[in-house]
């Protein structure tokens, strides 16, 4: 039987090339992200860094590890998904051949072993490519982590020989796993099917699709219903899980919507060209090829769902943080200065009032349960409790801000208090600039999206640094004051809306960059899978094209029919992908709105339009090229060689 596998492999290399490619890219992604993760986990601050620097760099590496963890998870999922659907498709295309082998006496088990054997051979080939491709991909992750500030510029991703075993295991395992389900179904192909003229359409909406589809739908609904606290890295992780669960649900249930979409588009085409047979033909073809349509649409669902959903979800978080910042500050001007300006501001006639604060890095062991004693870096704001509330809206849950007048005190956000399992009156160990402080918690304030999670008395932040002043002025003297402060070369001055806008823009850019770093390569992978599926779906139909041409259609007319069908695939993929994206964004919106206290919802329409256009271009281009290639031979020689 191995001989048969190898013959099949050699003969079908064109079709199998797509399957190999999916494994190659998947393995490269998983291997590279895994190496980056391990490199970040073992990296430390460079020698000679100061206490705060060490804290910040170490904390950045912790973030890098979480980030790469997400990339590993996402890449693994998408690899399994794409390889599984590619192999399933490849097997479905061979039903006729497999039925023939059943007719000649191959048992169910032998069919399964044949297919798994092939898959393992493909897995080995694909993995070898993936191991090589993984090297430049790791370089991409290295640069990205440094650019995002999650790694020191010295950061290196070292090759580790054990990863070869992981890659081989993953590549071959995923291939074998992907062919297992398809193989089991193929084993049950009735031998009789080899004798029927038409290729038996095995039921597309099989039991496993129903089970997976309904379970995943239930999971997505449950995840949407539980209003999770969206904070930091967990927010992204939750968004990704939600998005993936919806993608699984929708792709499993895709065969249910294909006929409806095909019907509508067929009607439209008929309305546009009432005389042409195209509309009827297209609609009928798509209904007939539900599996083909669903499979080709699946990677589009992944691309649209992941890219629009995850980046859109992150945009909601950014929008929430922006709204929060805008509504929490009550001032007219913001001044940042390395020297104290208190005397000048106190005496200036146009200054109605001001507050001064300074951002410092505080190290806190916020994960007591892991017992590592590792400190996480938090942004803390050192404030004057008497003036801070005049320019910042703070919602005090328990205790009082005034408690910060005392020495060695601290105010925590509800989020951090919850993590530390501490409340007013307890103490917290906080490291500031290499010195450990035991601070008494005097108040807990409501959590916000963007922090701060820690307020400290100004006295604890005596180090030289940038002081931030929030000023309230009468509008009459504002421009005069603005000019005066601008002329001091120690200060930057900004109107408060400009300052919040700039701060929010910077945060949004960083958020987007992080999300892009997480999804970009996986999305490119899925985009390649679109081309792959489209090509496979087209080549499958050489016979059919030849018959159409024998009935009098020109190559151009065949192409038109196929492109119209591609349009339906695109609509199905966009519809389901859009639904997955919307679900993910809605999930983020629910959580963010809960934290901010009002409805926050943004939909990234330009991004969505760009992603869908790109998918359309890939799909239609690949379909055109492969249709042209698949109709190159004279139709009679294709039909005559009815295999």
């Amino acid at each position: 039987m191995l001989a048969l596998s190898i013959t099949a492999l050699r003969e079908r290399l064109a079709v199998f090339a797509g399957a190999i490619l999916t494994i190659t890219i998947g393995v490269a992604l998983v291997q590279a992200s895994l190496l980056a993760l391990v490199a970040a986990a073992t990296a430390g601050p460079p020698a000679g860094a100061t206490g705060s620097e060490r804290l910040v760099i170490s904390d950045a590496y912790v973030s890098a590890v979480s980030l790469m963890g997400l990339v590993v998870g996402l890449a693994s999922f998408v690899t399994i998904f794409i390889v599984g659907s590619t192999f399933g498709f490849a097997v479905a295309q061979r039903r006729g051949e497999l039925a023939l082998l059943r007719l000649l006496g191959l048992s169910q088990g032998q069919i399964q072993r044949l297919l798994v054997g092939e898959a393992i051979a493909l897995g080995i080939l694909g993995t070898l490519g993936g191991v090589l491709l993984g090297l430049p991909v790791a370089g991409y992750f290295r640069r990205t982590l440094i650019d995002l500030g999650f790694a020191h510029p010295d950061f290196e991703i070292a090759w580790r020989s054990w990863v070869l075993a992981v890659s081989l295991g993953a590549g071959i395992g995923v291939a074998a796993l992907g062919s297992l389900g398809a193989g089991r179904r193929a084993g049950r192909v009735p031998a009789l099917e080899a004798l029927r003229r038409t290729d038996g359409a095995d039921r597309v909406m099989n039991l496993s699709r129903w089970v997976i589809g309904l379970l995943a739908t239930g999971g997505a609904v449950a995840m949407l219903a539980v209003n999770t606290q969206l904070r930091g890295e967990s927010a992204v992780a939750i968004s990704i899980s939600l998005c993936l669960v919806i993608v699984i649900a929708l792709t499993a249930l895709a065969p249910l919507v294909v006929p409806a979409v095909a019907g509508v588009v067929g009607l439209l085409l008929r309305a546009l060209h009432p005389t042409g047979a195209g509309g009827a033909l297209v609609g009928a073809n798509v209904r007939d090829g539900v599996r083909r349509t669903s499979t080709t649409a699946a990677p589009i669902v992944v691309v649209v769902g992941l890219v629009v959903g995850l980046i859109g979800g992150m945009d909601v978080v950014s929008a929430g943080a922006r709204a929060e910042l805008e509504s929490s500050i009550d001032a007219d001007l913001v001044v940042e200065s390395h020297t104290r300006l208190d005397d000048l501001l106190t005496s200036h006639p146009h200054v109605d009032g001001f507050s001064r604060e300074m951002t410092v890095v505080a190290g806190i062991d916020d994960d007591l349960e892991d017992g590592s004693g590792r400190l996480a870096a938090y942004q803390a704001i050192a404030i004057e409790p008497s003036t801070y509330p005049t320019s910042h809206r703070v919602e005090v849950t328990t205790g009082a801000l005034d408690g910060l007048r005392g020495p060695d005190t601290i105010v925590l956000s509800a989020y951090l208090a919850d993590r530390l399992d501490a409340t007013v009156g307890d103490t917290a160990m906080v490291r500031l600039d290499d010195i450990d402080h035991e601070l008494t918690i005097v108040a807990v304030v409501g959590s916000t999206l963007a922090g701060p999670d820690i307020l400290l008395p100004a006295a604890l932040a005596d180090e030289p640094g940038e002081h931030r002043y929030f000023l309230r002025t009468a509008s009459s003297g504002r421009s005069e004051l603005f000019d005066l402060l601008s002329s001091l070369d120690v200060a930057t001055v900004a109107a408060v809306d400009e300052w919040t806008a700039a701060a929010s823009d910077a945060a949004e850019r960083q958020n987007r960059n992080i999300m892009v770093a997480i999804v970009s390569l996986t999305a490119i992978y899925a985009a390649i899978a679109i081309a792959n599926a489209a090509a496979m779906a087209t080549f499958e139909r050489r016979q059919e094209f030849a018959l159409l041409r024998l009935t009098g259609l020109s190559r151009l007319q065949v192409l038109r029919v196929v492109l119209n069908e591609g349009l339906i695939v695109l609509v199905v993929g966009t519809l389901l992908g859009g639904l997955a994206a919307f679900g993910t964004i809605a999930g983020a919106s629910t959580a963010v709105s809960g934290i901010v206290g009002r409805e926050i919802m943004v939909v990234p329409w330009p991004l969505a339009a760009a992603v869908v256009s790109l998918c359309a271009a890939i799909l239609l281009l690949t379909t055109s090229i492969s249709t042209v290639a698949a109709t190159r031979e004279r139709p009679i020689s294709v039909v005559g060689a009815r295999s």
Binding site: T7, A8, L103, L195, A641
Partner: protein, 262 residues
């Protein structure tokens, strides 16, 4: 028992009475098979009984949709009857497991069909050797060459199906069906797509299988000339056995067929 008069009546045998049962290659007993339900109910086989003895060649004729293919599929264990029994030798196919049916296809039954797919990626010789490989036997070059020579394709072993004419492809399919020397050969319109000269060659080939290897052949055909090559002909209509002929001639077959409206 073999009466040929009552059209629409049921018969139990088509061979002369008194033949010992160990000479029976294939027996269908009260076999029924229907498709669909309610308005779309189609009775493809209606309480059909038929006994075929070893080394016989039977042609099955009847109008399109009369159940000929279904009869063949049930006889080969490709379809399970809804009622009745199918005995191949001493095994009842109606109750056999998938594993048993698989083993049976490997050794005991060969299929030849009009549109039987050859594997496009394999050469003629590889296609012929496929059943041996499937059975886990070493592909015996000599045997493959011999069978290909038997079907007149000695020099075409290295050609792929697309490089062969329809008749040649059909002969490759026949070679593939006979290489394992199955006791029963089931053929559905094996000459349907062939010109008359090639058809005659194929029929001669089948005759030699019966004569030399004692194989039992059941052949569905529309062609009275092809049917006349068999030992006897049975006629189906609406899933029932309605007539049979011993030692048929083409003209008699054509006349009977005309009576049935086929």
């Amino acid at each position: 028992m073999a009466s040929t008069e009552a059209i629409g009546g049921q018969r139990s045998t088509v061979h002369p009475p008194g033949v010992p049962t160990q000479d029976v290659a294939l027996r269908l007993e009260h076999v029924s098979r229907h498709y669909g339900s309610g308005d779309t109910l189609v009775v493809a086989l209606d309480d059909l009984s038929l006994t075929l003895h070893r080394g016989s060649w039977t042609a099955v004729m009847g109008p399109s949709g009369s159940g000929k293919s279904t009869l063949l599929h049930c006889a080969g264990g490709l379809e399970r009857p809804d009622a009745g029994q199918v005995w191949l030798g001493d095994r009842n196919l109606a109750t056999a497991t998938d594993r048993e049916l698989t083993a049976l296809r490997r050794r005991d039954v060969g299929f030849i069909f009009q549109n039987l797919n050859l594997v496009a990626s394999l050469t003629a010789a590889q296609n012929v050797a496929l059943p041996l490989r499937v059975a886990g036997q070493p592909p015996a070059r000599q045997a493959v060459r011999q069978v290909l020579a038997d079907v007149g394709l000695a020099d075409r072993g290295r050609h792929r199906p697309r490089e062969l004419s329809g008749g040649q492809q059909q002969r490759v399919a026949i070679a593939r069906a006979i290489i394992t020397r199955p006791a029963v050969l089931l053929a559905d319109e094996p000459t349907g797509a062939l010109d008359s000269i090639t058809a005659r060659e194929v029929l001669a080939l089948l005759r030699s299988r019966v004569a030399e290897s004692g194989q039992t052949i059941v052949m569905v055909t529309h062609d009275p000339v092809a049917a006349a090559a068999a030992d006897h002909v049975v006629f189906l209509s609406d899933g029932r056995l309605v007539d049979d002929l011993q030692r048929p001639t083409a003209s008699v077959v054509a006349a009977r067929l005309a009576q049935l409206g086929g």
